[in-house]
Amino acid sequence: MALLIGFDLLDRQILDRDGFPVGKVDDVELDDELRVVALLTGQRAFGRRIGGVLGRWIGAAAARLAEKEPRRIPYDAVDHVDAAVHLSVRAELLPPPALEAWLDQHLIRRIPGAGE
C-alpha cells in the first residue's frame, strides 16, 4: 500500500471497527526495508515523537503508569485509511491505554453514575 507516511498516516486518528477512538498514530514502526510494520500510539510514543525536554517528561510520566512500552497495533489490523485510520478489529482486542485504565480505576469508577 503506497502511502506517504508523513502525509497519510502520522497524527491521524485511529478508529476501531465500530468507530470507537483508539488513539492517534503517534509513531510508526518500520522494518529493515522501511515498510510500515506497526502503528505506535500512546504517551510513550508521543513523548518520543515530540522530543526535547517536554517529550522526555511525558514519556517518563507514561512509564510511571506501568506503560512499559508504547501501544503497538500491527499494521495487519488496518482495514483502510481515509480521513482516519480504520481498523478491522475492535478496540477491546488491542492493548489498553494505560492512562485511561488508571483513571477509570482510581477516579471515574468511584463516582456514582459512571455507568457499566
Binding site: 497524527d11 470507537f20 492517534k24 515523537r49 515530540i50 482516519a84
Partner: protein
C-alpha cells in the same frame, strides 16, 4: 412538520446560546462609554463567526471528524501542541468567567455573596455534564436564554434619544472624554466576545456526536446563519441599554447589577425576572459549553475517546479533563478576583489567541483530502482570508492596547 420544528428549535437554541458573560460585559461597558458607536463591531464579529462556524460545520459534516482533530494532522504535533495549550488556557479562563457570571446573577436574587454560590454552581455544572442528557439541557438553556430579548424590547420604554443613537452609530470613534486607544480597546474586546473560540470547537464536536452527514449541512447552516445574527441582536441589547441609561450621565458599567438594571427600569420586576433568567441561562449554558470544549480539545488532540454521549467509564480521560478544568475555573474565582475583571482579561487574551483557532480552520477547510470537492469556494476563502487579517490585527494590537490604556482605563 417535525423537521421544521426541529430546525426552528435548533435556531432558537443558537440564538439563546450565543450570548455569554463576555458579550454582557463588553456590550454594557462599551455602551456606557461610547453609546452605540461600536455597533459595527458586533456586526463584523457576527459575520465572522458565521463564516468560520459554517466552515467548521462543513468540515465535520463531510469528513465526519471534529475540526480540532484535524488540526494536529495538518499542522504537526508540535505546533498543534502549542495551539492546544493556548486554546486550553483561554477556554479554562473563560469557564471561570462564566461560572462567575452565574454566581453574580444568583447574588442579585439572593442576599448571599457571589463567592458562596461558586462551589454550588460548579457542582451543579459538573453534575449536568456528568450524566444529564445533554440535548435536553442545551434546549432548555438555549430557549431560556431567549429571555434576554427583554432588553431589546424594554429599551423602547426608556425613552431613548433616537437621534443621538443614530449619530453614535454613524460616527464610529471616540466620544468626548475618550481616546482612539480606548475606542479600539473596546472594539477588540467586543470582537473577541463575538468570535469566541470555544464556540466553533463545540459546534463541530456536537456535529460529530450527532453523526452529521452532508445532508445535515442545510440545517447546520440555518442554525448558524439565522441563529448567530439574532444572538448578536441580544448582545446588542446590552449595548443599547447602557447607551440609553448610562452614557448620557457619564456613568460606566462595572457590575452585573448595573448591566441588568435597565430591564427593571423599563419593565419592573417582570423585566428583572426575565433578564436574570436570561443571564443565568446564557452564562450557565456557556459554562457547560466551555467545560465540554476544554475536554474536547485535549481529547481530540491526543486521540482519546470523548463525548457527552459516551458513558463516563468509556471516556475516563475526557471526563477527568472536564473535571480538572472545572476545578481550575473554580480555583481562579476563589482568588476573589472580580468576575467582571476576569472577564475583561479573558476577552483580551482570547483576542490574542484567535489566530490559533482560526488559521487551522481555514487551512483544513481548503484541504481536498478531507472535503473532496466541498472545499471552500471563492467566497468562503475571500471572507475567510479577510477575517483572518482582522483576527491577526486584533491579536497583535490587543496586549499593547491593554497596557497603554491600562485595561480600558
Amino acid at each position: 412538520m417535525k423537521k421544521f420544528l426541529g430546525i426552528t428549535l435548533g435556531i432558537l437554541t443558537a440564538v439563546g446560546g450565543f450570548v455569554d458573560i463576555g458579550d454582557i460585559v463588553s456590550g454594557s461597558q462599551s455602551g456606557a462609554r461610547f453609546g452605540i458607536a461600536h455597533v459595527w463591531v458586533i456586526v463584523v464579529g457576527v459575520v465572522g463567526i458565521c463564516v468560520y462556524a459554517e466552515m467548521a460545520g462543513r468540515v465535520t459534516a463531510i469528513s465526519g471528524r471534529p475540526v480540532f482533530d484535524l488540526v494536529r494532522e495538518r499542522l504537526g504535533p508540535r505546533v498543534a501542541l502549542v495551539n492546544l495549550l493556548g486554546s486550553y488556557a483561554i477556554t479554562v479562563f473563560t469557564l471561570g468567567a462564566e461560572l462567575g457570571g452565574v454566581a453574580l446573577a444568583l447574588q442579585l436574587l439572593s442576599s448571599a455573596p457571589y463567592l458562596t454560590w461558586v462551589p454550588l454552581v460548579a457542582l451543579l455544572l459538573w453534575l449536568a455534564l456528568w450524566r444529564v442528557r445533554f440535548e435536553t439541557l442545551e434546549r432548555i438553556f438555549g430557549l431560556a436564554g431567549l429571555a434576554l430579548v427583554v432588553l431589546v424590547v424594554g429599551v423602547f420604554w426608556l425613552g431613548p434619544d433616537v437621534g443621538a443613537l443614530r449619530h453614535q452609530a454613524l460616527h464610529p470613534g471616540p466620544v468626548p472624554g475618550e481616546t482612539w486607544a480606548t475606542y479600539w480597546f473596546f472594539a477588540i474586546a467586543l470582537f473577541a466576545s463575538a468570535m469566541t473560540p470555544y464556540e466553533v470547537f463545540f459546534f463541530s464536536s456536537g456535529g460529530v456526536e450527532e453523526k452529521w452527514t452532508p445532508r445535515d449541512l442545510v440545517v447546520a447552516r440555518a442554525n448558524v446563519f439565522l441563529g448567530f445574527p439574532l444572538g448578536g441582536l441580544l448582545a446588542f441589547g446590552f449595548m443599547v441599554n447602557a447607551a440609553v441609561v448610562y452614557h448620557p450621565i457619564g456613568m460606566r458599567v462595572d457590575t452585573l447589577g448595573q448591566a441588568v438594571l435597565p430591564a427593571g427600569m423599563a419593565l419592573g420586576e417582570l423585566g428583572i425576572a426575565l433578564i436574570i433568567l436570561g443571564v443565568f441561562a446564557a452564562t450557565f449554558g456557556a459554562a457547560m459549553e466551555t467545560g465540554l470544549s476544554a475536554g474536547y480539545t485535549v481529547a481530540q488532540f491526543f486521540g482519546w475517546s470523548w463525548g457527552k454521549l459516551r458513558r463516563p467509564r468509556s471516556a475516563a480521560r475526557f471526563h477527568t479533563t472536564v473535571l480538572v478544568s472545572l476545578l481550575i475555573g473554580v480555583a481562579a474565582l476563589l482568588t476573589t478576583i472580580d468576575p467582571i475583571q476576569l472577564t475583561e482579561y479573558m476577552l483580551i487574551f482570547s483576542a490574542v489567541a484567535l489566530p490559533l483557532t482560526y488559521i487551522p480552520i481555514l487551512v483544513v477547510a481548503n484541504d481536498r483530502h478531507y472535503l473532496g470537492d466541498r472545499v471552500n469556494g471563492r467566497l468562503a476563502n475571500l471572507m475567510g482570508v479577510i477575517y483572518l487579517v482582522i483576527v491577526v490585527a486584533a491579536a497583535v494590537a490587543a496586549i499593547p492596547l491593554m497596557v497603554f490604556t491600562r485595561v480600558g482605563g
